[in-house]
Structures are given as C-alpha cells and as structure tokens.
C-alpha cells in the first residue's frame, strides 16, 4: 500500500516537473520536486529498505534529465543520510526543522550540480547566476516543501483508508464468488 502510494507520488512529481511546470513561468525558479519525496521518505520511514526507493527515484530522475548519470542518485542518497542523521536530534513535527531540511536539500543538490559543472568546464562554467538560482530555489523550497510535506501526510492517510476499503471490498467479492 505504501509502496503503491510512493510509486504514484514519484510519477506525479516527475510528470509535474518535466511536462507541466516547464510551461509556466515559475519553472525557472523551481526547485527539484522529487526532493519532497526524498525528504518525506527519510522523515517517515526508518526501514533500511527505503534506501532502495531513494536509489530508484535517483535513477529515474537521472534518466529523464540531461545530467551525467548518478548525479541525482548521489544527491538523494546524501539528502536521505543527512535527514536520517538530523531527525535523531529534532522533534519531527517542527516546522523550523522542515524549513532547514528543505533549504539544506537544495544546497546539497546545487553543490553537486555546481561541482559537476566545475569538473567539466572549470571555473568559467560556474557563473554567478548559478548561485543566484540556488538562492531562489532555497527560498521557494523553504516555503513550499514544508507545505507539501503536510499535504502528502494528509493525502497518504486518505489514500490508506481508500485502499483498505477497496481491498476489503474486493476480498469480500472474491469470497462471495
């Protein structure tokens, strides 16, 4: 049930980011939406199997992006590890914690991207615009990621109720037949 929810969520966020958002003006300021998924997975679950989900999401985004394969994968694993580490010390429902995590995740991703550009093209490739973009993404992530995390929590609860009802109905039907 939880796996199906995260498969749907990953697909939804990927489609939003690659096919819907680019048609709007805000796409230039938009942060990586899949970060929301990674943070949520890292916050909610402690099972080590979650790392496989993080790797799968990283591979998907690496495949649909023009970056060198492995960049998003590495970023997501680092975000996962850092959130797992931080959540040991902080009260999880703290909004301030969400904001810090969101901004940190964007910084981690941007650092890896800048590093990748730097390795390929040297210092000339890393323009001041990149830092400005990072700052904008940090701002938007700090605003929207905590909100998105709250929404996902609510939606997941509703989804679980619907899913349980549906499966019990199907089970009854199959028992009857």
């Amino acid at each position: 049930m939880k796996i199906s929810f995260f498969v749907i969520l990953t697909l939804f966020l990927t489609i939003m980011q690659t096919a819907v958002f680019p048609d709007f003006f805000l796409s230039h300021h938009s942060f990586d939406l899949l970060i929301i998924n990674i943070i949520y997975l890292s916050l909610v679950f402690t099972h080590p199997g979650v790392i496989i989900a993080v790797i799968v999401i990283g591979c998907i985004v690496d495949s649909v992006s023009g970056v060198h394969f492995g960049l998003y994968l590495t970023t997501y694993i680092w975000i996962y590890v850092i959130v797992q580490g931080l959540k040991q010390f902080v009260f999880l429902r703290n909004i301030g914690f969400y904001i810090i995590i969101a901004a940190t995740a964007v910084v981690i991703e941007s650092v890896f991207l800048i590093l990748s550009v730097f390795i390929n093209q040297g210092n000339n490739g890393v323009l001041s615009l990149n830092y400005y973009l990072m700052a904008k993404q940090m701002f938007w992530a700090s605003v929207f990621i905590p909100l998105a995390l709250e929404i996902i929590t609510i939606v997941q609860k509703k989804y679980e109720v619907i899913f349980t009802n549906f499966t019990s109905k199907m089970k009854k039907k199959s028992d009857y037949t």
């Binding site: 690659t18 938009s30 990586d32 649909v64 992006s65 023009g66 970056v67 093209q121 990149n130 973009l133």
Partner: protein, 272 residues
C-alpha cells in the same frame, strides 16, 4: 268525461307543443329578454367572468411554469452546446496553430536535401541547470546519438540519449553544447556555446574580426553534426576587451526554446 289516462296524454302533448313553440320563438329571437333573464345574467355573469378569468390566470401560470421549466432545460442544453462549441473553437484554434507550425516545417524540409523525422516534445529537463528536451521518437524511428535536431527557425540541438521510443535532445543553450558556426556575412568562424540562461555565446572570434550586432550566425558544418547553413542565432552584444585575445559575443537564438513543440531530427547520410 276524459279518463285519467287521456288527460295525461293530452297534458304531455300540450307540454311538448309549448316547449317546441317557445324554442322556435326564442331561436328566432322574436321574444325580448325578460326581467328574470336580465337578473339572472347580472347575478351569474360576474362570477362566470371571475371564474373564467381565474381559470385563464391559472392556465397562464401553468403554461408559463412549463415554459420556464422547458426554458431552463433548454438553457442547460444550450449551455452544454455553447461549452462544446467553445471547446471545438479552442481545438480548431489549436489545430490552426499546429497546422501553421507543421506547414513551416514541411516548407523547411522541402527546402533542404536531408531526410527528417518529425517528433513532438513531450517533456523538459527536471533541472533548470540543464537544457534538454524529451521527444516521442526513438531508435525504432531511426534516431541515434549525435543526430542534429532543427526547426524551421534554426538549430535546436542534438540527440544525446536514445531509447526505443524516446530520445533526449541537448539544446544549444545548454552549457555542455557547442556548435561550430560562422557569421553569415563576414564568414568569421567561432563556436556557439550555451550559457546558464537563454542566451548563447559566440566564442573564439578574434578581436580583429569585425562583427556587429544584428548579424546572423549560421552553422558551419565543420563539427560533423549540424548541416552547413542552418540558422543558429543573431548577435545581440559584442564586447572587445584590450587584454583579451577573443571578443565576447552574446547571441540570441533563432528558436524560442520555451515555446518549442515539434522538432525535426535530421537523418544524415552517416547515420542511415
């Protein structure tokens, strides 16, 4: 003298005769209305009028109600029809735009000697740091890595990843892209490189070369990827610094990459 039976018979006949006589006279209007009739009419007629008016009013309300009900139903139907017409109109407009774009592409393909595979843009890069697009054609349609991608306005980019049904295209505005190019008038050679924004840079043009704003940059064909003579962009800013060997030239691409919806992948002889 008369029996009882006879009397009843005569009475009955007399009554019938009088009745006929009265009916005959009244039907010929030969008898004036009498006072009783007038009184009766005066008494009854107002009620008759009121009742008939009431019936008429009820009838009118009834008819009006049904009219309103049917009008409401019609209104819903008309609204649906109008929405449908709007949808058709919007679709027609969309088709008209698409038709214009495809016409341009068809005219363009006729004007050059290469063969093309037309593809639709289905997604863009999830990261604003990189400029790539995904198209709905892949290996099955004859696409392979390195093929140039163009539209009627000019160069779009080249194929970097190919799946059976999809391909990823690196746009010329991406920082990892490079197109060997020429200034159309002066034939000054340089490399068009992507930046971090929408603009591109025309690199390695010597300081002594005369390049002015507004000049058109075309592909040189020397990179073995892009066919020669395709439009790349237009010079918008030229900066010459005394300490630098090369000029700093910013160009605006001919293609608006935010609005691109269909592209043509050029199938070159090397890839056939």
């Amino acid at each position: 003298m008369f029996s009882r039976k006879m009397l009843f018979l005569i009475g009955g006949l007399l009554l019938i005769a009088i009745n006929f006589a009265v009916l005959t006279m009244s039907s010929r209007e030969s008898v004036d209305e009498n006072g009783i009739e007038r009184v009766a009419i005066t008494l009854v007629a107002p009620f008759q009028m009121d009742v008939s008016k009431s019936i008429k009013a009820i009838e009118d309300v009834w008819i009006a109600y049904f009219c309103v009900v049917s009008a409401a139903k019609e209104n819903v139907d008309f609204k649906k029809q109008l929405a449908n017409i709007d949808r058709i109109k919007s679709r027609a407009r969309e088709l008209e735009f698409e038709n214009n774009r495809l016409k341009k592409l068809v005219n363009f393909t006729r004007s050059v000697e290469y063969s093309f595979v037309a593809a639709k843009v289905i997604a863009r890069d999830p990261s604003p740091w990189f400029k790539t697009i995904m198209v709905d054609k892949g290996k099955k349609d004859g696409l392979s890595k390195g093929l140039p991608v163009v539209v009627s306005e000019g160069v779009v980019g080249h194929v970097i990843k190919v799946a059976p049904n999809y391909a990823r295209i690196l746009l010329i505005t991406d920082r990892n892209s490079a197109v060997d190019s020429l200034v159309q008038n002066s034939r000054v050679r340089g490399i068009v490189k992507g930046g971090s924004g929408k603009e591109c840079f025309f690199r390695y043009a010597l300081r002594k070369d005369k390049i002015q704003t507004g000049e058109i940059i075309i592909s040189s064909g020397f990179d073995q990827i892009f066919p020669k003579g395709l439009k790349v962009g237009e010079v918008v800013n030229v900066k010459k610094e005394p300490s630098q060997l090369f000029q700093k030239i910013i160009i605006k691409t001919c293609v608006d990459f935010d609005k691109i919806e269909e592209v043509l992948v050029v199938i070159t002889d090397n890839n056939r």
